[in-house]
């Protein structure tokens, strides 16, 4: 511990090191060419070079962001709706639809969406959106259901309007579980987005599929390592956000 004396706390954080590793590999991948050339001498070129890895990542992250933002807004709104008295009758239906979205293979969604939306990022975003709804809805409903009945009764008894109960009681108390659902959804989406490359979207999966098609193992490795690091880094950042969101008055999530 004496070694970190006087250093900022963040130096000792694994998030920082995973982040540095991820961006260094992504930007410096061409510099690893001699290594790959040595390990796989028959593959030319040894590093994927049809696009920069940074451009692939930007496109990949953009699609995940668009799909997950839409899934979060729609999922949390639906969860709020079905946990109000007015939406109670729709609760089972929403649960069923979300489960269908999750069980329907994203590859099949892509195949069906391409004729309607064309090739490129759009069918991928649709598939990611549908696939990511279930964990968000389920966690948001669990979070809202978990608000103690006595707390809600007291809030109503003191004269909070339904809107005020939602804003001041339900949402803050359900927020940690809601965020956990978004975290799962985003992490899954980062991995799943790779298949978008099969319908012409640029993702970190592009070198993987190119590598598979042309039997170029180094391409597969390069794409897979970056996707994995991206997913781990994002998950770690969410974990940080969750800790920050934990209200001082609430027992640690468990």
């Amino acid at each position: 511990m004496t070694g970190t004396r006087g250093w900022p706390q963040s130096i000792a954080s694994p998030v920082l090191w995973v982040g540095v590793l991820f961006f260094a590999l992504m930007l410096g991948m061409p510099q690893t060419a001699p290594l790959f050339a040595k390990a796989f001498p028959q593959v030319v070129p040894p590093v994927f070079d049809r696009d920069s890895f940074f451009a692939l990542w930007l496109s990949h992250a953009g699609m995940v962001l668009a799909a997950s933002a839409a899934a979060s807004i729609v999922g949390i709104s639906l969860a709020i709706f079905v946990t109000r008295p007015v939406g109670h009758d729709f609760r089972a239906l929403v649960g069923t639809l979300a489960t269908i979205g999750q069980t329907f293979p994203p590859a099949a969604v892509l195949a069906l969406a391409v004729p309607a939306l064309g090739f490129g990022p759009r069918p991928t975003i649709v598939a990611l959106f549908l696939y990511g709804l279930l964990p968000i809805i389920e966690n948001a409903i669990a979070g809202l259901d978990g608000v103690p009945a006595a707390v809600r009764e007291a809030a109503q008894g003191m004269g909070l309007s339904p809107w005020q109960v939602l804003r001041d009681v339900d949402l803050p108390l359900a927020a940690p579980l809601m965020l956990a659902g978004v975290r799962v959804s985003v992490t899954i989406a980062i991995g799943t987005a790779t298949i978008g490359s099969t319908v012409g979207a640029l993702t970190l999966g592009t070198p993987i599929f190119d590598g598979l098609a042309a039997s170029k193992v180094p391409f597969v490795l390069q794409g897979a390592v970056l996707v994995a690091l991206f997913a781990i880094l994002t998950d770690m950042l969410f974990a940080r956000l969750e800790r920050r969101l934990q209200r001082p008055g609430m027992a640690p999530a468990g």
């Binding site: 103690p148 006595a150 707390v151 809600r152 009764e153 007291a154 809030a155 109503q156 008894g157 003191m158 004269g159 909070l160 309007s161 005020q164 001041d168 009681v169 803050p172 108390l173 209200r247 001082p248 008055g249 609430m250 027992a251």
Partner: protein, 307 residues
Amino acid sequence: MIELDRIVKEYQGRRVVDDLSFTVPEGAFCVLLGTSGCGKSTTLRMINRLVPFDAGTIRIEGADVREVAPEILRRRIGYAIQSTGLFPHWTVEDNIGTVPRLLDWPRNRIRDRVTELLQLFRLDPEAYRHKYPHQLSGGEQQRVGVARALAADPDLLLMDEPFAAVDPVTRDALQAEMARIHQATGKTIVFVTHDIAEALRLATVVAVMDRGHLAQWGTPLEILENPANEFVAGFIGGEASGVQLLALRTVAERMRPGEGAEGKPVSPDASLRDALAAMMARHADRLPVVDGGGQRLGIITLTDLIR
């Protein structure tokens, strides 16, 4: 004044409150007493419209409770419940300030009111205002819950078994505080409990409820001395009700003036129960009665207690 006029509440065809009428006078401490499922909590929650009623009228100060929006009505009525319902993500100060904030009180006024209420419940304002509910003991949480109900100085306070979940020692202290606060503020209180001793200790008037009906309405003394029917007699403990009665009568009512006795004296204001306890503790069958000024008034004997 609260008037319930022929109130009916049905759940799935079953009448849980059946043609119930009573009037709680201004400043009364009215205890709704009964076994679980007798409709007492439902009755309480119909007063602030947390539960809608199917027939009849409830009036507060002569005004029908259905004339205003439920939120507006509830902000004028204090409400405290058994499990406190404190907001776990808010500090004590924010919790107590809930209704004043809804009523748009200025911030300074809310802070002063929180200080005042914490002092009323003998909690050090500076030590407690920034704590969160999970940092408080059960008794402290309950005090904050009642303080929150009193925050906007409502004329009427509804309490649903507020002390049922705390230990007996804490409950005793909370009951004493509640009695003190009722006397100090003169608020009208409607209080639900199944605990007969709690009812007799706090109530100025008791409504004994049985299966949605009013079984008896009267002062604690009237209920103990003249139970209206078998149910009430059974509920207050049959022959054991005499022991409860001791708590409601004072030494002054039964003492023999002029006579003298040896031993440690009791006050004329003490209850007969305290006198009995003193006799048992001292193995004496008679005690001198001496008032606060040291004046010897007479004696009280064991026979006087059971007269």
